[in-house]
Every structure is written in C-alpha cells, then in structure tokens.
C-alpha cells in the first residue's frame, strides 16, 4: 500500500479527533477508528511506519497508532 496515502489518511483522522479538548479521548478515538475501519494490512503498515524514525504522522496520530499496536498485541 502507498504509505504516503496511509499517512495522509491517518493524519486526517487525527485532524478530526484532535479537536477534542481531552488528549486521552483524542488518542483513543483515533486508535479505535483505525481498529474499526482499517483492514489489517493497512493497520500493519501504519503501525510499522509509526515505529520509524522518519515517521510522518503527527505526534497525536503517532501516539494513537502506537497505542493501537499495543492493544492489538496478544496479551
């Protein structure tokens, strides 16, 4: 998948939920949105990207993607 496109989409999701006055709500909402609507291969690629040093995600979205990574790992 085109990672630039995925990053753009993820950042736009962050653009909406980032308006929430509560940071935790914003992070969880972004992570939940990705979980609900993104197909696993898209999620895998965005998670992989979030771990890169040259990650182009906004800080808020990166935090959400990393949280998604944590919560989706088997405990």
């Amino acid at each position: 998948m085109d990672i630039h496109h995925l990053v753009k989409m993820a950042n736009e999701i962050g653009g909406f939920f980032g308006s929430s006055p509560e940071h935790e709500v914003a992070v969880n909402s972004i992570a939940q949105h990705l979980k609900n609507f993104w197909e696993p291969r898209m999620r895998r690629e965005i998670i992989e990207h979030a771990h890169r040093e040259d990650c182009a995600l906004t800080p808020l979205v990166r935090e959400a993607v990393l949280r998604l990574d944590q919560t989706s790992r088997p405990s």
């Binding site: 998948m1 085109d2 753009k8 736009e12 909406f16 308006s19 609900n36 197909e39 291969r41």
Partner: protein, 945 residues
C-alpha cells in the same frame, strides 16, 4: 390517462378527525369533514359523471358534468366543489340531471369525434366513457360548425404528443403542472371558443419550461395528451406494481404490460396513486426513460477472455461461472484469502446486495466487500450513526408538509430528486420558509412561486465553517432548545460543544472570510432555522463528497439537536440519496466493517448468529474499502474483484488510478446489463437483469422498503440474484434460494431492524419503513421520537479544516460537480433513452468574469486541467456559478469528469472529494470526438429512428 383499473374518486382525500355521515342515493356513507360530495359518493360506490375533477387535483368546478341534487336545496350544485354536510341527502340520478349532463356532453362532443373508433385511446378515454355514461350517442349540431380540427399536433416532446383538436380545455393538465409538479409551464390562453392550452409562451412543449414529468399526460381525460408508447403499442392488458430503478425517492409505479407477438412488452409506466413516496407523481426518468431495458446494447450472453487485450468470447453460463470461480480460487491460493473481494451496487435490490456481501464473507472468506455508497453517502452513515445511533434519514418524505423552515444544502432536488422536490415545493408555496446553501444558484433559489429567504452561496468545501457559524449564532443568541438538549443529549459533550461553538473563530464574521457568505446572511439564516418552530434539513452529495463530509454530517446533527429539531414530523436531518437503493444496499451489510443492520464484524455474538445460519466462520476484521482495494491492487496484494452493477472506472475519482488498479488485477468479473467502462478491464462479463426483469426490494431515502416485481422475462435468462447464487455455488459455497422472498426472510431473521419484514407483509401494506419489528410491526415513519436510538444524542466538536485541494496560480478555479434532471448518474441507462434529447453532452458552467478573462465564448471548447488530468468540453457562460467556481455534470463517459477529480477523500469514510477540484480552464483547439446530436438521439433509442 389514468392507469388501467385505477379508480378515480374525483377529489383528493381530506384529513380531519371529525367524521360526517350523509346519504348518497339512499346509501349511508361516513367521510372526514371537508370531503367533497363526489368523493363521498365514489366511496359509497356511486359514480358521478365528471371530466374536470380527478382525485389528484383540487376541485375546479368547470365541466358542469358532476351536477347533483341535494335535498332541501335549489338548483344542481357541482358535486366536486360541494363539501359534505351532516345529514345531507344526495341524489345523483334524475331526469333533469340526465338532461343537463347529456346537454353538456353534447356540447363537448360537438368538437370531438363521438365515434370511439376515432378515439386514439380506443374509446377508453374518460371523455368517451362519460359520453357513454350519460347515454349520448348522437350529436345534433353536425360537423359544419366551427371546430378545432385544423389545429396542428405538437409532437415535439420525445415521449408524448399534444393534439389540441382533442382538448376539451378542462384545465386538468394546467392544474397538474401547477399543483402536482409545481412548474407552472402550462396555461389556458384566450377566451371562449379560442381558449386553448399552451405550453410556455405559446411554444412547442420541447421549447417550453416543461420538465416532461408527464403529470399533464396522466391527468388528461381525453386523447389530447398521450404517451407515444401507448399510441404505438395500444392499451395494456395488465398492470404490475413495482418500484422505479432511478433515484432514492423510490417512486412506486404501475408497469402496464401487453402481450404481443414478440412476448410481453411494457406499454407505459404510470406512477402509482397509492405509492407512499410519490403519491401518483413521477419525473421524466421514471415515467418515460425505461426503454434502455430493451436497448440493443444489452448483453445477453456471458462472455470471457483470458487477457483484457483479447476479444470477448460468448460462452455458456456454466463455462463463464466456472472460469470465474476457478480464477478466484487460483488467485486466493496464490496470493492469500484477502486477495479478492466484491462490490455491491445501489442499483441492485436488497436481496442481490445481501447475496454479494454473503458471497464475499462466506465464499471468499474475508470482508473485502464495499458498495458504491462509499463514493456518495458513506459520511451520512458514519455521521448519523455516531450522533443518533442510526445511519439513516430521520423522517418520511411526507414530513416536509409539516416543516415551517426548510434548509437545503448541497442538494439540487428539482434535478436530482424531482418528485420529492415537487412535494417540497408544494409546502413552500403554502408558506414554509426556505434557506438554500449551495455554491451554485440552483432552481429552488428562485422559481415560480418559490423564493429562498436566504441563499447562502458558499465557496465549495466550506460547509463545516458555515454550520459552525450557524451553531455560533444559536449558542450565543440564546436559541438553544435547552429542554431538548437536557432531556435527550449527552450533557458533557454538549458543554464542550457549546464552548467550542461560542468561540470567536466560529463567528459568522470569521466564517464569512472562509465561506464567502456575508455574516448577516448567516446570522439571519441561523435565527430563522432555530426559531422554526419546525425546521428540517435536506442535504445531498454537496455535503458528503468532501474531505470533511462526515464532519459536515455531524455538524448538521449538532445543529438539529441544539435547536430540538428531531423526533417529530416537520423536522429532522434528511439525506437525499442519489441512487434508488443506496439506503438498502448499506442496510444489508455491504460495508466492509459491518454485517446487516450496521453491526460491526468484530462482535463475536453477532458473528456467531450469522455463522449458525451461514455454516461458515466469518472473519472478525474489517475488509478493504473500494479506494483501499485500488491501492492494494497496485501494491500487488489485491488481484480479484466481482463487481455487480457498478461502473467504477467511470464513477470513481482519478480514473487513471482506477484504470491502473483494474489493469493490475488477474480476475475482474463485471456483472451488469451493459458493457460499461469497467468492463474494458474485465475477464468475465455476466449479463445482468434490469429492474423490470426481476423480483426483489429497494429501500429508498426514507427507509421505505418497496417491492420490485418482475414485469418481463430476464433477457439473459437469469435474474441477478440467481447469477450470484450460481457463482457462489461454483466457488464451492452453496447458495440455494427458490425466490428472493427467502433471501429477505434470512435478512429479517438476522437483523433486528428488519425482523418484521416479509414479502407477505410488503404485499399487504404496500411498503414498510424500517425499523419494522415487534415494537413497530407496521414500520417507523419518524425516527428518534422521545429519545435517540443510541440513547443520548452525541455532540462532537466539528472544527473546520480546509481541504488540501487548494487553488493556486496554476489551478485558480474550483470545479464542482452535480447532476441534471434528465440524466442519471453515469448515464448508463438514460443515455440509452430519448432523454439525451435534452442533454446530449456535459458542459462546463463558467462565470462571465472568468470566461472573459480567458477569452472564452459561449459554446467554445475548453480544456479543464487539474493536478490529476485534463478533459475537454464546451463552455456555458452563466451567473449560476460564482466567479472562481466552475461546474459540470458527469453523465457522459466521453466527458471523463473523473479524469480530473483527485484522490482526496473524507477523513472518516474515504468518500471521494468530488465536489472540490482545483482546475484551470482555457480555450482549446482540442476537439474530442462527439457524435452530432441527431446521431446521439438515434443511437439512444434505435426504435425511435
């Protein structure tokens, strides 16, 4: 002419709780107060002769045929204009009445052939029936007097003729145009003997402002106005009630059919008087543009080819289905279970969409199923479900009659949803106030007897800023319905939203700089809306097809909740769905993350319920959406696609990207009625069946489920649901249904909101609005009465974020798109009808200022260039669009409007941002190949040549 077997009660029904009992020819009858005597008599099975009266129009009292005697009163009052009174004793037959009626009829027939064999309707017109009813067999005045027989026939309309010599000047056509359609195109000109019905300014029908809805043709009691198809084929011998295959209004029709030497053929489509979405009205598409169903371009045999560069080969159904199944299996074995998927269509029935998504989930074993709503109303689903709990319009269409203020945004009802527009215009003519928000001056802004109180001509892409500014006015001027919010909405979220909305950055003054709408206009519109008392929002793709489409839907929900405009007739948030079954295809599980009834696939109990019925494990992860499928195809991980009833190569944005994705796939199966643009990339073509050739149901924009009934045999031998079953069986997952009713039974078993739906109930009630279950056995007209489906209504903060698609010196104009009355979507159907008479090609609307700057004259060829591509079309210079904005339609593949649209999409749903594309427009020497208009018309309807 009415449909065969229709009973005309003379005048419209009246709503009154007070009942009146009277006597007609000795028969007691009880009717609501305000009912006319003629209607009361008809309800008592007493037929009073009539000509100017019909139950779709208000009484007129001109023909003097429906005279009656009323005990205790002098004279012979017209029964159509006389309201019933308690204890009235009506006499409809007497010697004086007979004499009067015969005298009147004799005068009518003195200028009309009395011989039924000379009647174009074979004596079945109301005029001849009335002559027969009053016993008139001879006219004493002879043929020598003045008459109208020399007046030429107006044959200009492609679908009907007007023969003035057969007109009795009863005004039914004029009243139908005024009252039913609301176009006011017809009038009676002249006085006395010179009185005649004329269209426009004494023009031919085709040159007048007539919109060819056909209401006049249906209302005409003689053979003056008649469908050409009826004249050509003769009267039908039966009528079958079915549902229109065009827009989301979902009009009910009677398909009149005649058995001929070449089998059954449709004679005409007559809107069903009992149809609840349309109440007997129609538009030019539904009533007339059905000839595509038998167009020679229809593909009747399955086709296959190994490579898309190979020629097609006709094969048997078994071979085509076997090849498709083997290829899907091969691709999945080679590239994995998730490497294939399917697309359902809003042009197909609920049952067909359900089967396609079932095939993907059960036979393919993944959730890679999506639907064309992805590119139109997916933000509606997301926004309304998030705010209210149900991704559907909140009202029925008739609710608009109770609205005091109507806000239309991003929709053009008179073009896109004409029958609902007529209902809306009726309410506007009777006093409702109107706010129109649109980048383009749509007809509703100012038309006969309708004028918007506020026309907010906003810059494309700024809907959210406009709604936020309206919300600012509501929260800062004390216009919040505090009780409604306290009772029904989440208090914490509302508090945050209130603070957000009150922020100065959301003030109308700030929004004016973004939207281009003066602050005072925004304030005035917001105050008007908030004060109602009943204010309703109607919106279309001008709201959803934006990078902030879902945000805008949420902003509308916020505005409606804050002002308490939900949960009763006359209010609500109402999407006008583009295609006939957008609502239904979504309802039955076409989205990749949801099973039927909008329930997420991750729910283990839900999956267990389906697995028990489907006997297969369901993937718990959401699948790919359409744009994701294209990306994955180019990535090499998605290589097989089954597409039913969609032309994604033409309708999806950035056509080059779509073409590249489709070209990269190893097996593309197109299941359609015509060889469309997408089929250029297909390896298997499965011939489909039109809406006239199958059984099923459609669900319209008001959640109304209506039956689609088979009128003609399937041209290719199989109904679409049978094809999907056969493909599934070939794939190894058994699907064996005997009739679509069994598919609906399965949907009802698995879906709480459909639990009470069955074909038996649909046949009994005519139609059903979901939710339909034990709590609402007859369905639900208005949603969220007393509380929201999700519990507390949610206020989400809707910050305005400008689209990435910015104008620059290189691309200084914004292109936005829309549709036109006579064409439908990508034109697959309507381009194969005589509707091309009105719209043989798409044009580019450009403001005179922008045209002058570029040296563009009316009709010049211009090149429209965006970051994605370039197209050429002719310019139409108009002030409908503001300077800086250009507009076109997307009905003709030659235009290739989606060559220039970009891949920007709604943040929540990936719905493409069709409505905002930065472009440059310049004169061009490029002359795309176009057929001349007469050849386009000839090709559209070969039988009309």
């Amino acid at each position: 002419m009415l449909s065969i077997n229709d009973k005309d009660l003379g005048t419209p029904t009246r709503d009154s709780a007070k009942l009146i009992t009277l006597e007609v020819d000795g028969r007691a009858v009880t009717v609501p107060e305000g009912t006319s005597v003629i209607r009361a008599a008809a309800l008592a099975d007493v037929a009073i002769p009539k000509l100017c009266a019909t139950d779709s129009l208000e009484p007129f009292g001109s023909c003097r045929l429906c005279l009656v005697e009323i005990e205790g009163r002098k004279g012979f009052p017209a029964s159509c204009t006389t309201p019933v009174e308690a204890g009235m004793k009506i006499r409809t037959q007497s010697e004086p009445l007979s004499k009067l009626r015969r005298g009147v009829m004799e005068l009518y027939m003195s200028d009309h052939p009395i011989d039924p064999f000379e009647c174009k309707a074979g004596g079945k017109c109301e005029l001849h029936e009335m002559a027969n009813a009053v016993g008139l067999v001879h006219v004493r005045y002879g043929d020598d007097g003045r008459n109208h027989r020399h007046v030429p026939i107006d044959d200009s309309n492609p679908y009907f003729t007007f023969d003035p010599s057969r007109c009795i000047v009863c005004s039914r056509c004029v009243r139908a145009c005024d009252e039913t359609q609301g176009t006011f195109a017809l009038t009676i000109e002249g006085r006395g003997f010179n009185s005649q019905m004329v269209a426009g300014q004494h023009e031919h029908y085709i040159d007048s402002e007539c919109v060819s809805c056909g209401a006049c043709v249906q209302a005409c009691p003689t053979d003056a106005l008649m469908e050409k198809s009826l004249l050509e084929k003769g009267r039908a011998d039966r009528a079958i009630v079915t549902t229109c295959g065009y827009c989301g209004v979902g009009c009910s029709f009677k398909a009149e059919v005649k058995a001929g030497t070449r089998g059954d053929e449709v004679v005409r489509m007559v809107p069903n008087k009992d149809g609840l979405p349309n109440h007997g009205h129609s538009c030019v598409k539904g009533r007339f543009a059905w000839g595509y169903a038998t167009h020679p371009d229809r593909v009747k045999r399955p086709l296959i080819r190994k490579r898309i560069s190979d020629p097609w080969q006709e094969v048997s159904w078994d071979e085509a289905l076997g090849y498709a199944a083997a290829e899907f299996n091969r691709v999945q074995q080679k590239y994995g279970r998730g490497s294939v998927g399917g697309i359902t269509s809003s042009r197909c029935t609920n049952e067909e969409a359900y089967l396609v998504q079932k095939l993907v989930r059960a036979a393919f074993g993944n959730n890679n199923v999506d639907t064309c709503a992805r590119v139109c109303h997916s933000p509606t689903g997301y926004g309304l479900k998030t705010a209210f709990g149900t991704p559907a319009g909140t009202q029925d269409f008739d609710s608009v009659a109770a609205a005091d203020v109507i806000l239309v945004i991003g929709a053009n009802p008179t073009e896109g949803h004409p029958v609902f527009a007529s209902i809306m215009k009726r309410r506007l003519r009777s006093g409702a106030r109107l706010i129109v928000a649109d980048p383009r001056e749509i007809d509703l802004v100012r038309m006969p007897h309708v004028e918007a109180d506020y026309f907010l001509q906003l810059t494309p892409g700024t809907n959210v800023a406009l709604f936020n500014a309206m919300a600012h006015v509501v929260v800062t001027e004390g216009l919040v319905n505090e009780q409604f919010v306290a009772d029904r909405c989440d208090a914490g979220e509302f508090k945050q939203w209130r603070e957000f909305s009150a922020g100065e950055h959301n003030s109308p003054e700030a929004a004016a700089k973004v939207t281009g709408v003066p602050a005072e206009k925004i304030r005035g519109a917001a105050r008007l809306f908030a004060r109602g008392p009943n204010s309703a929002i109607y919106y279309g793709l001008g709201v959803t097809e934006h990078s902030q489409g879902s945000t805008a839907v949420l902003a509308m929900a916020n505005l409606a909740m804050a002002t308490g405009m939900l949960g009763r007739p006359g209010v609500g948030v109402n999407p006008l769905r583009g295609q006939n079954n957008v609502q239904g295809s979504n309802d039955v599980g076409s989205f990749p993350h949801e099973l039927t009834g909008y329930r997420h696939v991750s729910d283990p109990q839900l999956r267990a319920d389906f697995e028990k019925v489907w006997h297969v494990a369901i993937d718990p992860e959401p699948g790919l959406r359409i744009p994701n499928m294209f990306d994955a195809a180019l990535d090499g991980s998605f290589l097989g696609l089954y597409i039913e009833g969609e032309d994604i190569a033409q309708s999806d944005p950035n056509s080059q990207h779509v073409a590249a994705a489709l070209s990269a796939m190893e097996i593309v199966v197109v299941h359609d009625i015509f060889m469309n643009e997408t089929a250029k990339y297909a390896h298997v073509f499965l011939p489909g069946s039109s809406f006239l050739e199958k059984n099923g149901t459609f669900t319209n924009a008001e959640r109304r489920i209506s039956r689609v009934r088979k009128v003609l045999p399937a041209l290719a031998g199989k109904e679409d649901w049978e094809v999907t079953c056969a493909l599934s069986n070939a794939l190894g997952y058994p699907m064996n249904y005997n009739h679509p009713s069994e598919i609906m039974d399965e949907i009802a078993r698995l879906t709480p909101t459909f639990a009470g739906v069955s074909y038996e109930k649909l046949d009994r009630l005519g139609s059903i609005q979901w939710p339909c279950n034990d709590a609402a056995p007859a369905g639900t007209a208005v949603m969220h009465v007393g509380g929201f489906v999700r519990g507390k209504g949610r206020f989400l903060i809707t910050e305005y974020v400008a689209t990435d698609e910015r104008t620059t010196s290189r691309f200084p104009l914004i292109l936005t798109t829309g549709r036109i009355l006579t064409q439908y979507n990508v034109g697959t159907q309507t381009r194969r009808t005589l509707n091309v008479t009105w719209h043989p090609e798409d044009v580019l609307e450009i403001h005179p200022h922008d045209a002058e700057q570029r040296g563009i004259c009316e009709g010049d060829w211009v090149e429209v260039t965006s970051r994605a591509g370039a197209i050429a079309l002719r310019a139409e210079i108009t002030e409908r669009v503001a300077a800086g904005v250009v507009y076109t339609t997307f009905h003709h593949p030659e235009t290739g409007a989606n060559v220039v649209t970009t891949e920007n999409s709604d943040w929540a749903t990936n719905c493409p941002e069709y409505k905002v594309t930065a472009v440059q427009v310049m004169p061009t020497a490029r002359r795309p190949e176009r057929l001349p208009a007469d050849r386009i018309i000839a090709a559209a309807s070969p039988s009309a040549r």
